[in-house]
């Protein structure tokens, strides 16, 4: 054996010439490794494939001319992008390659950005500098960011675009859910602009809860909020019977009364059994509150809580006081102060109390609480972080109760613990945490939500957009969200508007809801007399709407206070209310306007002007628009509706001055017949 080896040695390196020859051959071979690797590289293989594919196409010449061999790179130092993806994805910019079935050759779908200006990994993640499929797409040592599944792709839009975009419904929904379900009450989310994400769920204070409801209801609610209301945003904490017993005991014992939030009504409910239903309907409670109908469908809005089983929850005396004036119990509530008279309160209260589910509390039997139970309940209430969302007397809102999520979208996989069987990717981890938070470890406090799979995807998308890049991007490269203003009207009228909760539905100067029209320029747009009569007895201008302006039973003094304020303060600077007369147009001009209205512009497609013949349902009814709007507003609106209300769907028809004048004349002649019709509409 040894002898054999030594002869081999002899024959290879026996003399210096031989040795030199052998070493040279070895050296040459090793030199050839690199070019060979290059020759057999994947990108070369794909480029060959591409050239073969385009050969059979009619536009082969153009494609051939555009083709550049070798490794391609998009280099954007500002963004830290070094992307070589186009070495294999050769046809990304070729307009004609939309129909190619084999990847990686198809043209990139249309997006608002140029590939050469943004590269690939900014949106798709992955390792841009890599030149093999596996390294570019999959997680490797150097790179914690594998390609992002298409399901979550909108998260990348959210890194720079801080506000809602029309093309990213999933991201928008995810962000809405983060706020709406109070995720950000426990998890801090600091945004790059220095602000913190705010919740929109408005959970009630629990400091006076014993006035409102019973311990039994609290117990049942704590055990399963969705059993009371399917739409409840409160999650399920999976409490044991004993824990729910003790927490309910503490909340009742901790509650202090509020003067005037419970009353024994002097009046009796109406004897007419239908009176409650009709008062509920007339007051348009359903604009904000939903109730499950017999078929199990929810009917109504989601500004206020669902009322399907409200009779199980509220104490009658509290409900009466609440309906009389909700601000006594909760000064900041989104619910308007309706100014019902006692008989109306009694009727509505009886109607709501009848909304019960006999099963809900049937099995809840609680003994009187012991001091130990109450003390234990208090501990649980602070342990579970209830005060992160709810105000609770004697318990401070915990800071940083749950992990901060400001950069969750860049969390390294090595720092994550996965459930058995779960794919080891960040999106899978995040969605797994949302789906079954307690599965990750028995001691975790994060509660169980009842999200649909689509909602989980949306939330995951929104969370993935909170990452290193989104936090560190220079402000010049971001597109900020339009911030919600904190506009508050002043004086007596301002007080009245808070009392009526106008901002729960209407937006003014960038503050408020979007259920009802923006009132920022209301003073320029409507006639005073119309506004007075509308506030007294609102009808709807849009026959197809389910949500409507309720009647608040205002006094004459309140009505004129509000009207004066709106007419004087909510003025658009471009419009001079009195610059165009309200009446006195010639018959010829009116007739011309009529022809334009029904002919060239065919406004009747969306608006009802002659209630016998027109049927359009999209825009407001115009039957008596001449008594409602100012001519100056109408003219400017016809010329350019978006200049007055950005985003309105009324199309800008680029009307000539003459056409706009004639249609204004025609519309101003539509005064409506009687006052009564104004009210009914």
């Amino acid at each position: 054996m040894n002898a054999k080896l030594s002869t081999l040695w002899q024959s290879l390196f026996g003399n210096s010439v031989r040795a030199f020859g052998v070493v040279s051959v070895v050296f040459l071979c090793s030199l050839a490794i690199a070019p060979a690797k290059n020759h057999f590289s994947e990108w070369r293989h794909y480029q060959h494939g591409y050239l073969k594919m385009i050969r059979n196409r009619s536009e082969a010449n153009t494609l051939q001319r555009h083709f550049q061999g070798g490794i391609q790179q998009i280099w954007l130092p500002d963004l830290g992008v070094v992307d070589r993806c186009t070495s294999c994805h050769v046809g990304l910019n070729e307009a004609s390659l939309t129909d190619v079935a084999t990847q990686p050759f198809r043209k990139h779908p249309v997006i608002p950005h140029k590939l050469d200006e943004f590269g690939c990994v900014i949106c798709h993640r992955g390792q841009g500098a890599a030149t093999t499929v596996a390294e570019a797409h999959n997680s490797t040592l150097a790179w914690e960011q594998p390609i992002l599944p298409a399901r979550y792709i909108e998260s990348s839009c959210g890194e720079c675009h801080r506000g809602a975009l029309p093309g990213t419904p999933v991201l928008n929904e995810g962000r809405r859910l983060l706020a709406r379900y109070g995720c950000v009450n426990c998890h801090t989310v600091k945004l790059a602009d220095g602000t913190t994400m705010k919740a929109t769920d408005d959970p009630p204070s629990l400091s006076h809860i014993a006035d409102k409801t019973t311990r039994e209801w609290i117990y049942a609610w704590l055990k399963d909020p969705q059993a009371y209301a399917a739409t409840a945003t409160m999650p399920n904490f999976k409490l044991s019977d004993d824990d729910a017993r003790d927490m309910s005991a503490f909340l009742i014992a901790n509650s202090t009364p509020v003067a005037g939030d419970s009353i024994a009504l002097p009046a009796k409910p109406s004897s007419d059994p239908a009176a409650g239903t009709s008062l509920y309907g007339e007051s348009f409670c359903a604009s904000c509150h939903a109730v499950q109908n017999a078929a199990g469908n929810l009917v109504g809005g989601n500004v206020g809580p669902e009322l399907t089983r409200v009779g199980n929850k509220v104490k009658p005396e509290w409900l009466s006081a609440w309906l009389r004036n909700p601000r006594t119990y909760d000064p900041g509530t989104a619910m308007p102060h309706y100014r019902f008279n006692d008989a109306q309160v009694a009727t509505l209260s009886a109607f709501l109390q009848a909304k019960t589910d006999s099963d809900l509390l049937a099995n809840v039997h609680l003994e009187a609480a012991t001091p130990e139970q109450i003390a234990h309940g208090k501990r649980l209430v602070s342990d579970y972080g209830c005060a992160s969302c709810h105000e609770i007397a004697g318990i401070k809102k915990p800071e940083n109760f749950a992990p901060e999520l400001s950069r969750i979208g860049s969390k390294p996989i090595t720092q994550l613990l996965f459930l058995p069987g779960m794919p080891h990717t960040l999106p899978d981890y995040i969605s797994g945490k949302i789906k079954q938070p307690r599965a990750f470890s028995p001691g975790l406090k994060m509660p169980q939500y009842t999200f649909t799979p689509g909602q989980v995807d949306a939330l995951t998308t929104a969370l993935l957009s909170l990452n290193d890049r989104s936090t560190t991007l220079p402000p010049s490269l971001t597109v900020p969200a339009v911030p919600e203003s904190n506009y508050q009207p002043a004086g007596k009228a301002g007080k009245l508007m808070s009392d009526l909760a106008c901002f729960s539905c209407h937006r003014i100067n960038g503050h408020g809801g979007d259920m009802a029209p923006d009132l920022t320029w209301e003073g320029s747009s409507v006639q005073r007399a119309w506004l007075v009569s509308f506030l007294k007895n609102p009808g709807t201008l849009r026959p197809a709407l389910i949500r409507r302006m309720p009647r608040f039973n205002l006094t004459d003094e309140e009505t004129s206070e509000l009207t004066d304020y709106m007419i004087t303060v909510y003025q658009n600077p471009v419009i001079d209310r009195d610059s165009i007369p309200l009446s006195g147009y010639s018959a010829g001009e009116i007739e011309l306007g009529r022809q334009l209205f029904y002919g060239k512009y065919s406004c009747q497609g969306c608006h009802i002007l002659d209630s016998k013949n027109d049927k359009g349902y999209v825009g407001p009814t115009l039957t008596q628009v001449g008594s409602r709007l100012t001519a100056a507003w109408m003219y400017q609106w016809l010329k350019n509706p978006q200049s007055l209300r950005p985003g309105t769907i009324e199309p800008n028809r680029a009307m000539s001055d003459e056409d706009a004048q004639a249609i204004t004349a025609f519309l101003m002649s539509q005064k409506g017949s009687t006052k009564k019709e104004v009210a009914k509409k």
Partner: protein, 244 residues
């Protein structure tokens, strides 16, 4: 070095695991207790969703016997082109003969063919094919714009949030899915009628002009959306992703 070994090892075991789990999947198919004669769609075909995302409604198929009554206990398996996922990927039909699955379309825009299979009494495969539509970015934008500006008139169906205006129009527009109409209109003509209104194509002025309200690129997005949902499919509807 140890780290790279570790990573390699995890990737390796992970890939092993996934390949195993594929095998396990087929090994763990539920045992059918009945066989059907036909498989039909109950609901959930022809939906649209953004590429890579869940369809809004689940896909429900029904296994029937010779008389057209639902068969319970029949095994149905779902399959689609690469990227399409099913939750669950298979199941036994319930008491009314139905199997329900949540479908996510693939990550690229286009139409996806989904195949639901079951076996008949002679153990022959019977298949049901349904098509679902995946929208790319531009089409998604178009969908948002269409919902905002157009569907009230163009879609005869009302929802809780949007009462249709279709019935109120003297001259009826076409639903954007009506390929027989839209496939005959060129991109240029579509852009013209949207920008300048019905009269641009000798149609009714009840179709308003949107050219001063909706930007050119947004009008392109609307057209792209209309093309992607038309039925029969337009030539620009995007690739059809079928299994194999």
């Amino acid at each position: 070095m140890t780290r790279s070994l570790f990573i390699f090892f995890t990737v390796f075991t992970a890939s092993l695991c996934t390949s195993c789990s594929h095998k396990r999947d087929s090994a763990l198919l539920p045992k059918p207790t009945a066989l059907g004669a036909a498989i039909v769609e109950s609901s959930g075909g022809k939906q649209t969703a953004q590429a890579g995302t869940l369809l809004p409604q689940p896909l429900v198929v029904q296994v029937n016997d010779e008389q057209g009554n639902g068969v319970s206990g029949a095994l149905v398996q779902f399959a689609g082109a690469a990227g399409v996922t099913f939750d669950p990927p298979n199941g036994l039909s319930d008491s009314s003969g139905q199997v329900t699955t949540n479908v996510s379309v693939g990550g690229e825009a286009g139409r996806y063919q989904i195949v639901a299979t079951t076996f008949d009494k002679s153990h022959k495969k019977i298949e049901l094919k349904v098509e679902e539509i995946a929208l790319g970015y531009q089409q998604t934008l178009g969908r948002t714009l269409a919902d905002q500006y157009c569907q009230r008139c163009h879609n005869p169906e009302s929802t809780a949030e949007r009462v249709s205006n279709y019935d109120n129009l003297e001259i009826k527009p076409h639903a954007f899915t009506e390929g027989d109409t839209y496939n005959k209109i060129s991109d240029t003509d579509l852009a013209a009628v949207i920008s300048h209104g019905g009269p641009a194509l000798n149609k009714s002025a009840l179709m308003p002009a949107w050219g001063n309200t909706i930007s050119k690129s947004d009008i392109q997005a609307l057209i792209s959306y209309i093309r992607s949902v038309s039925d029969p499919p337009s030539r620009d509807a995007g690739p059809l992703f079928a299994k194999n």
